[in-house]
Point group: C2
Chain length 213, copies 2
């Protein structure tokens, strides 16, 4: 610091870890320990190491939070408003990742945070920094990239019904979709192929199971 | 520096300034003055000021290079490989902008650079840092966003023929497009509307002029 002016910008990576839960699409948040953000919820993040690429930092966070570094990570955006961090000037390069199974997450609380929880993306708590905005930008990007298989694939089991696929589209786009139009679209896109199996054992009549091409 | 390990990461913004030229899509490059990149070509850039947002830095560069800050800027990606800059650890947040008229650019050489030139994006010189890769990523993004009007609009005059529109699509996608399919697509997308005018005075038969909706 020189005359109160910070002479460097801290570079951080924050991760938006998403998975399907009972309530719909959920994001993993951590409760911060240190002032001035004590008890605030935030995205899991870290300062970038001097010898790390940005993606390596994101993978390091992932290993710590979900015990897996082989997931499909994608850079979302770089956030750099001068007042985004009350502790000093920082920028955050945000990465998002979609998990196929929240329950399998091999996660544990470390000394770094007070708590860790999944929140529905439409029902977030008060959050530190600009992390609420970061989640919003992630949702916009997901809606925009809805037709990319890398976005959809992790959110469904290996075999799924068209109703299950439609639900994922509706959750990511935030819009109700007409069933007949959806089936037409799925056929046109040739993204999925039918299997020989049916989904049974539920309160509905049996439905054909599909898989991604 | 401490034991040869840099204790901070420099945050820079680099701009990919694009315009249509005689040769197709062209990018503005500057020739660097200082070692170790003396005489190397690079994208115009700047270190982010302590009180500036990333977008403000990008606008500052634009004003200096093209004399206009009201252009549609878009963040491309944040590049952060540890070895991308021989002078020390730095990250670059890249922004791209599409100019409607290269000839109108009110540009001038400043003491910062040795030279400034437009290069066809498919015929770039040797470039400093990872700037060649940055241009490549920008081209991929443009091809991906080809159907967004903000991408296409600046590259055409107010009124244009369908052949001119097709040429822009071909240049941005890097692919030859079948004329009949293109006309079908244009009609489906409802992105353009016909005007009452015709383009004449060239070696071809007169063609209908269109404008964006």
């Amino acid at each position: 610091m020189e005359n109160g002016i910070p002479d460097k910008i801290v570079v951080a990576v924050d991760t938006i870890i998403l998975a399907m839960g009972q309530s719909g699409l959920e994001v993993m948040l951590v409760k911060l320990k240190n002032k001035p953000y004590e008890n605030c919820w935030a995205l899991p993040g870290s300062v970038v190491g001097v010898f790390e690429s940005l993606e390596e930092t994101a993978k390091r966070i992932l290993v710590k939070r979900v015990g897996d570094s082989r997931l499909h990570l994608e850079q979302l955006y770089c956030f750099g408003n001068p007042n985004r961090d009350a502790r000093g000037r920082s920028i955050s390069v945000a990465y998002f990742v979609l998990l196929s199974n929240k329950e399998k997450v091999n996660s544990h609380l470390t000394e770094q945070y007070l708590d860790m929880k999944w929140f529905n993306v439409n029902n977030l708590p008060e959050m530190a920094f600009d992390h609420r905005e970061i989640v919003k930008v992630a949702m916009e990007k997901l809606a925009y990239k809805l037709d990319e298989i890398e976005i959809i694939r992790p959110l469904l089991p290996t075999k799924f019904t068209l109703s299950e696929l439609q639900r994922v589209y509706e959750i990511l786009s935030g819009k109700k979709i007409d069933k007949r139009n959806f089936i037409k679209k799925v056929k046109n896109d040739e993204m999925v192929v039918p299997t020989m199996e049916m989904k049974t054992g539920e309160a509905y009549r049996p439905a054909k199971l599909f898989r991604f091409k």
